[in-house]
């Protein structure tokens, strides 16, 4: 007979895991879903930021979640510059489909190889004061290693939603996803807006990096674990839907952990990706496809 405590714990730990997936996916949801830039180097950028955060934390003793907030603007500017390069060489000439994809694939390899050459092949990690501690609410265990990154993830995603809805630039980003030419009628340069949005997506990768390095150690190739998942989450949500990305990420986490508990961990990816196939069969546009922020 199934133990209800196990099931409840699986759901709760799945939600915490889903929050990590959500912050990792949100940047790609902005670049891929809203800007139509298939940045498959996004997980590699997340790992790059994890290395930077680990280095800064070991020097300064700062908390990795706080450090992630501090380095996010720098990564944002990096993202703006990267988009300018991408736009100049690929998007402007209409070669972004395959050549743009190859550009980001190459960037991913470049980041991984550079990390190995600079930092070596060993894992990087940050020791936190709350690592190993667990908050127990009755029979439900909440490891702080998962809980605090989850809270950080939700706070940043919430701030992103507010910014997109309330600020002029945020609404321009949402608008550029729907009709970039229409922005010109408002005297807004869509390329500048897209550069800002891409910068935000890379900044989100840096925030996700802070969460990741708290959850687990990383090595140069840790991004591989996330590529399939975050692409699946963005597609499951429906391209361009940021609230949908949050819901899909939480769903992914819960299903993975429930499957692991009920049928064994080997079934986790099969069940989660099976859900993706089932949803796409019924709703090719994804669960929230068509809805924009």
């Amino acid at each position: 007979m199934l133990d209800p405590v196990l099931i409840v714990n699986a759901i709760v730990s799945g939600l915490l895991l889903g929050c990590l997936y959500a912050i990792a996916s949100m940047g790609l949801a902005v670049s891929f879903g809203m800007l139509d830039v298939v940045n498959i180097a996004h997980p590699a950028m997340m790992v790059l930021a994890s290395f930077v955060i680990a280095g800064l934390c070991s020097q300064s003793g700062l908390d990795p979640l706080l450090t992630a907030l501090l380095v996010a603007p720098a990564f944002g500017f990096l993202g703006v510059g990267l988009y300018r390069v991408y736009h100049h060489f690929f998007e402007q000439s209409g070669d972004e489909a395959m050549q743009g994809l190859a550009f980001f694939f190459g960037l991913m390899i470049l980041i991984e190889v550079s990390l190995v050459l600079i930092y070596g092949a060993d894992q990087r990690w940050v020791e936190t004061s709350y690592g190993g501690h667990t908050l127990s609410l009755g029979p439900v265990d909440l490891p702080l290693r998962m809980l605090l990154p989850a809270m950080m993830s939700l706070a940043c995603i919430g701030a992103l939603f507010v910014w997109l809805r309330r600020s002029f630039t945020g609404r321009a980003v949402a608008a550029v996803a729907q009709d970039r030419d229409a922005l010109r009628f408002l005297a807004i340069n869509p390329i500048r807006i897209k550069a800002v949005a891409f910068g935000i997506s890379v900044a989100l990768a840096a925030i996700a990096a802070g969460c990741l390095i708290v959850v687990q150690p990383v090595d140069a190739h840790s991004g591989h674990v996330f590529i399939g998942r975050i692409l699946a989450i963005v597609i499951l949500a429906g391209l361009g839907s940021l609230p949908g990305t949050l819901v899909a990420a939480l769903l992914f986490g819960v299903i993975e952990n429930l499957a692991a508990t009920l049928w064994g961990p080997a079934w986790s990816p099969a069940v989660a990706f099976g859900l993706l196939l089932a949803v796409l069969t019924v709703r090719p546009q994804g669960i929230f496809g068509g809805a924009h922020t």
């Binding site: 991984e112 190995v116 092949a121 060993d122 990690w125 687990q216 140069a220």
Partner: protein, 421 residues
């Protein structure tokens, strides 16, 4: 001429080898002539790079040693290697290039089963003698007669690998009656888990949890919770480095307890993970290949580790060097001795020498059966004891990784229970 000189001076070379470990100057003539080129692929990037890079450093230390001792067959030795990026698909192409384009004289393997097996068809087709590093049953299907494997798992990994873990558990009072088995869905881990099932069945121990997890697993808490609800006496994990850390973190956070916990975990052997987990490793009973205990202090081991660590410190690589490096150095020693005994670079003669006699190395005397596996398995099970904090220096000293199995290397007694009190 070189051939005759080498035969006559075999004893002298062996003496010189020992002398070089002691830091004395070589007695041999300087190497001369065209270098003997030894080709191999190795993971310098990708998931296995940590072990690949440290193994390469050990192989380079051997290269320096042998050239200082007068070379191989009187000729200098040159290592020719390419990064296989931990990707098995790259390996056949690399060995084809090494043999057909670079025309190397000798070949050795990359690190681990996943990177050794893809090389085998190329090696067999070219009839090369082949000494592999830390494979598990890679020659089972090929049954190639010119192969030797530097791995303590032995010929019957599926049966023997976990034997030490269960032998150690016999010391528990009361005797354990249940075991939980969980491991990564990969060749090595699957074999380790199969061995745990076999050993449990042989001893009448009931398996109460038995699951494999995929390599992409991020959250290990569902596995640990399920094990917790099954309340096993023993917990046997068969994991790789990233998941070993994830599992042990989840064990700590969810307060899983057992009479004995550990198993075939790959990870705690590596410097970075020792530094990361520190005192959390206390009482873990874990598979290993070598531990710096007095019972495993073979001729040349300490001298090698001193030299390796000096190089590794300078290059920022795996600094303790207790896992792959001693085996990689032994791999080269076996190659050196096989070539020297054959007296030439004739691959059939070298292949025959691999199975003829035993090989004294820095990890002890090795003898290979007809499939190239060790005649006797030597899966070492250590228990981490008395670790304080995360200082790496303590792992260089005896008494921290206490050997509990095999009996001939036993260096301490089991401390029951996990986590440590």
């Amino acid at each position: 001429m070189n051939r005759e000189m080498t035969r006559r001076s075999f004893g002298l070379l062996a003496t010189a080898a020992v002398a070089s470990f002691a830091g004395k100057k070589s007695l041999a003539q300087p190497a001369s002539g065209e270098p003997i080129r030894i080709g191999f692929s190795t993971p310098l990037s990708g998931g296995l790079a940590g072990n690949g890079r440290s193994a390469l450093l050990a192989q380079q230390v051997w290269g320096d040693d042998i050239n200082a001792r007068g070379g191989l067959l009187g000729r200098p030795v040159k290592l020719v290697y390419y990064d296989d990026q931990s990707n098995g698909a790259s390996v056949p192409g690399i060995y084809t290039k090494l043999l057909d384009v670079d025309k190397v004289d000798l070949v050795i393997s990359s690190y681990g089963t996943a990177l050794i097996a893809p090389a085998m068809p190329v090696i067999v087709r070219h009839g090369m003698a082949f000494i592999s590093l830390l494979g598990s049953g890679t020659n089972e299907m090929f049954k190639y007669g010119r192969a030797a494997n530097i791995s303590p798992v032995g010929r019957k990994m599926n049966e023997d690998f976990a034997k030490g873990f269960f032998e150690v558990a016999k010391a528990l009072d009361p005797a354990p009656t249940t075991v939980a088995i969980a491991g990564l869905d990969s060749d090595f881990s699957n074999r380790a888990m199969e061995s745990a099932r076999t050993q449990a069945k042989l001893r009448g121990i009931k398996v109460v949890y038995d699951r494999a997890y995929p390599p992409s697993t991020v959250d290990f808490s569902p596995i640990v919770r399920a094990i917790q609800s099954a309340t096993p006496d023993l917990v046997f994990f068969a994991s790789y480095p990233p998941d070993s850390v994830g599992l042990l973190k989840a064990v700590r956070e969810l307060k899983l307890t057992a009479k004995m916990l550990g198993g075939g975990m790959v990870g705690p052997q590596v410097t970075a993970i020792k530094a990361q987990l520190g005192a959390q490793l206390n009482n873990l009973v874990c598979w290993d290949v070598y531990a710096p205990e007095p019972t495993m202090d073979f001729a040349g081991t300490t001298a090698f580790l001193d030299r390796y660590r000096a190089v590794a410190e300078a290059k920022g690589a795996e600094t303790l060097g207790l896992y792959a490096p001693p085996l990689a150095y032994a791999q080269m020693q076996v190659l050196e001795q096989a070539v020297t005994r054959a007296g030439s670079l004739d691959q059939a003669a070298i292949g025959a020498e691999l199975h003829r006699d035993s090989f004294p190395t820095i990890i002890g005397e090795l003898r290979f059966d007809e499939t190239g596996e060790w005649v006797e398995e030597r899966n070492v099970y250590v228990q981490y004891q008395g670790i304080v904090g995360n200082d790496l220096q303590q792992f260089k000293k005896p008494g921290v990784q206490v050997i509990l199995y095999p009996p001939q290397y036993k260096s301490g007694v089991l401390r029951p229970g996990f986590p440590a009190a």
